[in-house]
């Protein structure tokens, strides 16, 4: 196998890469991209694939297509040996949830769905004051992608949940995409009702049964239901798009959902280097977050947070104020809202002006922040953690919880997806990731060079050597190391925060200090290392405790060393003019934008 063509069919863009074996080594040589064609006049995802291939053909001089047929095997400068692909062309997830009691199981079900990244279109409960026919009408008209049915504690009454199942059955809902599929329904209620639920729903829907989300009144167990939602979304909704069946007939290996393929890559990075890794892939419709801590791998798909199709939902979820806080110039709210909606209605466009780029990068910060928060709430141990709720908490329905994602124990943060991989300056990607993931202590940061992790993930299932060689040589770009204060370290602007001594590889020593609320960088090339001695001021912690020194060997990258004393969370000025000034200073410190 000498020549490989791989695509990722995203919701917005179809990206093709060509991999060729030269002098015994696999290298990524050319890339092409084209808008994903889920819109008229084409309405066929394979059209976008052909367009992306055509671009690769033009740039590489290799003939890949004979009409609309892929030429295999490769002979000289004609054809390829295999075509592999990933897909997330189907976009977001919209669900309905149903539970027996509105303030109890129905709310738990809603939390399970929201936590799994879905948009909840409606919550149906036995006691929601609506008449049965109104509930049935609602289910029928909304056409959700999936329904989560819950209700009853284990061993408790089964009446209400069976009643809800009867309503769903009467509505006989059909899925929005792919009429040949049955609508996925997850039952996560009283385990004693399972047989009855099967009788009612098994023939009419694709029924999946998981643990009760409310096994007792005091205990909420959302994890299994969330996992099931994510699994079904990945398997049945996300990859689906017009023309998907045709695409399946073209590939030499099964098409993988994009997050599945990127997850494989993240796990490989963590395993090979024996480190803890957090990764993100921010797309047009969805944002996927991955974490590998020791042996534990977690993956979440925020199904309605993204930079094109879902960009307006980022605004709806984050709020205009949260987006405005990252825009480094004055802009009125109405103008910003219109720009966001214009991107939503024309999702394949890209920023042409610097101002537009800064706005997109501001929005991406909120998409990344919200997706990461969702990941932290879902990332727990291998078997899931069942949270106990006492009786008073059960009625208050407050959310608390421990996450497995400990930023202080994180070794490497990896970013992928258009807005990070194609940021015109790598420093922009670094700043976006630092601003949103808020690394603590000492953390390396890297990006996917041109967005090829999905391609390499699926390729690794058929040719691991090719995937590994390309990953090591062409994919992962180390940006450098970030040295940051630890969570809870809040101070006043200008207050003494850190002194440090850096010994560079050439023996040069830097001895400086940085007050609270600032950012500074030092160049240190990729594959070079420096020694650092950190002395925090007495109220600040850089990983070893307040005022305690830290010594470490740190690695370089395209940007080098970044020292961040902006607080965790980052302290932004309250008035607009000072905040804009702050953002400009931080951007300048990391050389993010042209002067």
């Amino acid at each position: 196998m000498n020549v490989i063509i791989a695509t990722d069919c995203g919701s917005t863009t179809t990206k093709a890469i060509l991999i060729e074996k030269k002098d015994g080594v696999y290298r990524q040589t050319f890339r092409g991209e084209s808008p994903t064609t889920v819109e008229a006049p084409f309405e066929d995802v394979t059209r976008g694939v052909l367009n992306a291939f055509a671009e690769v053909e033009e740039l590489s001089g290799r003939k890949i297509l004979d009409g609309e047929k892929i030429i295999t095997p490769a002979q000289g400068n004609i054809g390829v040996d295999i075509y592999v692909s990933t897909s997330s062309a189907g976009g977001g997830l919209q669900m309905m949830v149903a539970g027996a009691v509105k303030a109890m199981t129905a709310e738990s079900a809603q939390r399970a769905a929201l936590g799994a990244g879905a948009i909840v279109m409606d919550v149906i409960a036995s006691n929601d004051q609506r008449l049965p026919h109104e509930k049935i009408d609602r289910i029928r008209h909304l056409r959700p992608d999936m329904i989560l049915l819950s209700g009853g504690t284990d061993g408790g009454t089964i009446t209400h949940v069976v009643e809800l199942a009867e309503y769903i059955s009467a509505a006989n809902p059909k899925p929005r995409l792919g009429m040949t599929f049955q609508l996925p329904v997850i039952f996560a209620g009283n385990k004693d009702a399972r047989e009855k639920i099967k009788e009612i729903l098994d023939k009419k829907t694709s029924l999946h049964i998981t643990d009760n989300i409310r096994p007792t009144l005091e205990r909420e167990n959302l994890f299994p239901a969330r996992q099931e939602i994510q699994k079904l979304f990945l398997e049945h909704v996300m990859a689906q798009a017009p023309g998907y069946k045709k695409l399946m007939s073209w590939t030499g290996a099964p098409i993988m959902p994009t997050p599945g393929a990127v997850g494989l890559i993240m796990q490989t990075i963590a395993r090979k280097n024996n480190i803890n890794v957090v990764g993100v892939d921010i797309g047009g419709a969805t944002t996927d977050v991955f974490s590998v801590y020791g042996e534990i791998f977690n993956r979440t798909v925020s199904a309605n947070l993204g930079m094109s199709y879902s960009i307006s939902n980022v605004l709806a979820e984050a709020g205009i104020e949260n987006i405005l806080r990252w825009v480094p110039f004055d802009i009125n709210e109405s103008d910003l809202r219109n720009r966001i909606k214009n991107k939503m209605i024309r999702p394949t466009t890209i920023p042409q002006t610097l101002e537009e780029l800064k706005i997109e990068q501001a929005i991406s910060r909120e998409a990344l922040r919200l997706s990461f928060e969702q990941h932290k709430s879902l990332a727990v141990g291998l078997k899931g953690v069942q949270r106990e709720r006492d009786i008073s908490e059960a009625f208050k329905q407050e959310i608390t919880g421990e996450t497995l994602v400990d930023m202080l124990k994180l070794d490497l943060l990896v970013g992928s997806g258009g807005v990070l991989s194609h940021a015109p300056r790598r420093s922009q990607a670094m700043l976006m990731m630092v601003d949103t993931f808020l690394p603590e202590g000492i953390t390396r940061i890297a990006v996917d060079s041109i967005f090829m992790m999905p391609h390499l993930g699926v390729l690794s299932t058929v040719n691991e050597q090719a995937a590994t060689e390309v990953f090591e040589k062409d994919c992962l770009i180390h940006l450098g190391t970030c040295i940051s204060v630890v969570k809870g370290s809040i101070g006043k602007a200008g207050e003494k925060c850190i002194s440090y001594k850096i010994t560079m590889p050439d023996g040069k020593r830097i001895e400086e200090s940085l007050p609270y609320g600032e950012l500074c960088t030092f160049p240190l090339d990729i594959d070079r290392h420096a020694d650092i001695e950190i002395q925090p001021a007495k109220n600040f912690d850089f990983g070893a405790g307040k005022g305690k020194p830290v010594k470490a060997k740190i690695s370089g990258g395209v940007i080098g060393i970044v020292i961040d004393t902006r607080g965790r969370p980052i302290t932004l000025a309250k008035d607009k003019a000072s905040r804009v000034e702050q953002l400009k200073l931080w951007g300048k410190a990391i050389n993010a934008y042209p002067e």
Partner: protein, 374 residues
């Protein structure tokens, strides 16, 4: 040859338009293939299942769910009249007898021995589908509906809200860069679809609704006004089923943006014609864009019909810029350079050079234009 592909909204003076008119459930198609119909004509009918009513029978009868069937006088599928006895207990002392009356006229749907509930269904509700466009039935989908065909002026909008509407087309402004204001809304626009220019605000839409206007087609609209119109911040663009009393279609985008001259002229040339519009928009896999269909009454010969563009972009093609800084401008492709170039953001992307009608030209990323039919 260097080429580029780009999605584009259809704006055609004369084109073939087909519309699938299907029932939500199987039913009867009542027209024949080849029939010439008006938009208002019914093409298919069916009966939607009636509303479901649930009765908690065991509570009312004072029995156990498992015993419910013993007390039933009717079985699943039986017809019942309102206030007819459908179940009764048989105690030894007749005074203690409980009876259960049907709250509706309909049928018994389910008798559940688990929940002790009886689900009753009202008689089916008739539902019909109309032709929506003046045209000809070209295909019958047995029990499902028909495919209508017509030759029409066809304009796809970029975003819309509100469902299908049919009415006479009226031009409410003089120029495509005019803002539609309350002064433009006249009583004569009752039951009509009106065309604005560059912009419309929420208060004008409100007034149009009160005047009985069926739909508004305009260049731009503010997101803040959309929020007011819907009552919520639209997160994911799935519209068409909202009940807002009017259909709104924007042709260019959000903000005040002049309607493309060609779109405005086309609409103006069809003033007074019967027009079918639908604001339904779904921007995700399986994209749906809003549409304006203005059928021709007279027969149009095949050679006069515009053909959709199904090829890559070429030098000389008409394109519209769809993002700032040249948002909304229309021009011709001057060059399509092969090599990617650096733009203001410092990104290196594939670009094209456009020449505008005033002789000026601009470099724009290829993904930021859409092709127009000429």
């Amino acid at each position: 040859m260097t080429h580029a592909y780009t999605p584009g909204l259809r704006i055609a003076e004369r084109t073939k338009v087909t519309s699938h008119r299907t029932l939500p459930l199987l039913g009867d198609v009542i027209v024949k293939k080849g029939a010439t119909l008006q938009a208002e004509d019914v093409v298919a009918r069916t009966h939607l299942p009636g509303k479901v009513h649930a009765i908690n029978a065991v509570n009312r009868l004072g029995t156990q769910p498992k015993d419910l069937k013993e007390y039933m006088l009717k079985k699943e599928g039986d017809a019942v009249q309102k206030d007819e006895i459908i179940a009764e207990t048989r105690p030894l002392i007749k005074m203690l007898k409980s009876v259960l009356l049907s709250p509706i006229t309909g049928t018994i749907e389910t008798i559940s021995t688990v929940t002790g509930q009886i689900l009753l269904r009202e008689p089916p509700k008739p539902i019909q589908v109309v032709a929506y466009i003046d045209g000809t039935v070209i295909e019958i989908m047995e029990k499902e509906g028909v495919i209508m065909d017509t030759t029409a002026t066809f304009i796809q909008g970029i975003f819309g809200v509100g469902g299908e509407s049919v009415g006479e087309l009226a031009i409410a402004v003089n120029k495509p860069d005019d803002t539609l204001t309350t002064e433009h809304i006249k009583p004569a626009y009752k039951d009509k679809i009106i065309v604005g220019g560059a912009f419309v605000q929420h208060d004008v839409i409100d007034m149009a609704k009160k005047a009985g206007v069926l739909g508004i087609i305009t260049g731009g609209f503010d997101d803040e006004d959309l929020k007011k119109l819907l009552g919520y911040d639209l997160g994911v663009a799935i519209t068409g089923s909202e009940e807002i009393g009017i259909t709104l279609i924007i042709t260019e985008g959000f903000g005040k943006i002049q309607m493309a001259q060609r779109t405005f002229e086309l609409l103006k040339s069809r003033t007074g014609a019967k027009t079918s519009i639908n604001g339904a928009t779904q921007i995700r896999a399986g994209v749906v864009r809003p549409e304006v269909i203005i059928p021709f009454i007279e027969n149009i010969s095949e050679e006069k019909i515009d053909k959709p563009i199904e090829r890559g972009m070429e030098v000389g093609d008409m394109v519209r810029v769809i993002r700032v800084p040249h948002f909304g401008k229309i021009g011709r492709v001057k060059t399509l350079p092969f090599a990617p170039q650096k733009i203001e953001t410092e990104a290196t992307v594939r670009i094209l050079e456009i020449e505008f009608p005033d002789g000026s030209s601009a470099v724009v990323p290829r993904t930021n234009v859409e092709m127009l039919e000429t």
